[in-house]
Symmetry: C2
Subunit: 320 residues, 2 copies
Amino acid sequence: MTEPTFEGVLAAARRIEAHAHRTPVMSSRTLDAELGATVHLKCENLQRMGAFKFRGAFNALASLDPSRRKAGVVAFSSGNHAQAIALSASLLDMPATILMPHDAPAAKVAATRGYGGKVVVYDRYREDREQIGRALAERDGLTLIPPYDHPDVICGQGTAARELFEQAGELDALFVPLGGGGLLSGSALVRAALAPDCQLYGVEPEAGDDGQRSLRSGSIVHIDTPRTIADGAQTQHLGTLTFPIIRREVTDILTASDAELVDTMRFLAERMKLVVEPTGCLGLAAARRMGAQLRGKRVGVLLSGGNVDMARFAELLAAS
Amino acid sequence: MTEPTFEGVLAAARRIEAHAHRTPVMSSRTLDAELGATVHLKCENLQRMGAFKFRGAFNALASLDPSRRKAGVVAFSSGNHAQAIALSASLLDMPATILMPHDAPAAKVAATRGYGGKVVVYDRYREDREQIGRALAERDGLTLIPPYDHPDVICGQGTAARELFEQAGELDALFVPLGGGGLLSGSALVRAALAPDCQLYGVEPEAGDDGQRSLRSGSIVHIDTPRTIADGAQTQHLGTLTFPIIRREVTDILTASDAELVDTMRFLAERMKLVVEPTGCLGLAAARRMGAQLRGKRVGVLLSGGNVDMARFAELLAAS
């Protein structure tokens, strides 16, 4: 394992090129008028399996040596990382074991199985998934790929921001959703190398502001699982790899409320015809809250994913 | 007024080039696997004002001479044509009056006003919009731009299929939503010139199968306003300009039920992260119903628009 670097991002870009989508960058005259800015939305909701997570997962698995590939991979996650690992493993012809809680939604279990993953169920109230994961890894020689605190995962996630700079040209500010910090630290490596003058904002749910508090205090703050509709950013703490990069490179960490996320989700569906999951709306919600400060600026936003249950999506759209 | 021709489509393409989006063509591995085909979706839901109608409206208004432009334009429409005329008129600095049914989706009425159009409301089931429109045109010297039966409108709509053939390459079959036949006859002119071997299917709502019956009987069949969720295809008859082209060029006219439209709408939102209005799902719904016949084929589908009221969209997604 090596330190995540911009060179690592470039290597990841080459590794994933034939498999990941180069997602489109979209804009909206209505949005530009609202902010008085030029806003470029990087549509990772249109990425394979519906989220940027595919980039990091594929990069991590494609970087393994043949013997480790053959033994297989294990991951624990109830969301996009699990599907990203299952799909990547299937593309690389590797066995994948995904640990999911016994009460995980049937649809998510089915989706993970659909991508070829072997689902192992654990009791979320009695068992420790990290312990089970490590035990399985040891017993069967599997490689454990964590959802964000891993150099190859971070470098893979950075490829999204790199594409955005290529597609949109110079940017004055970039807004990135923040959970455990994989996407944000990857983006930070890219910004430092390609656009040192671009301001970089991580955006987390208001109810889970551990990142903001970590940045203020200078050390990683742990919190209880936050209650928020942004289920992809319900992390309890930043990573030991992601935090130092974020601390060094990020302009600030902002928050968005659930109400702002719903409002932005509705805007994206109604005006831009895009389905974006609540977590994926964090960056744009913060940019909209910032408002006048962005006047005249070139703004980039990562829409990180679009995997939201349709019944849930309908429920959130219907609420006023 | 001249006969709509492929040369007219090319002229329209030049006229709208600086104003209309060249919309992306998307694909889905899940969809390709379902049909055993290669499916290219032309995303006119991502067109300006959210539908292909912008192409025809802008082309028609940009073709008017200066004195007619100055007097202004009137249009009658259940939605997207109205917005298209309002936006085009605003871009060309012309006054626009739009007749809309009393039960038009709230989002469409609001958007039409937002684009600077003056909205006049009529009762869809009791009043004759064509009569009201002609009276207004005569009284105030306005030019009436009908939603489909107009050469410049037809040629403008044809530019979408032309782009699709450029973007996707050769196609064995093309599926196009059918209301009054503007998009279908424009697509037919393009197919005849560029891809004479490509099968061309018009698709209308099951409840409003006047087009299918017209094709079978050889003359334009008039029906009562059909009750269907495909509000953009609630036309009562094909046009005197669109029907001869459709009759000459189209392989067949198919239908899709409201249940199939909802199913396809949900598929597009869930798997492709796209908001497509029910009318915009007609082509894909018919392709999915055709199923095995398309095995091994290269298939094009026009997703014609994405303007659906969010409350309505949520309601349709939530229904099982």
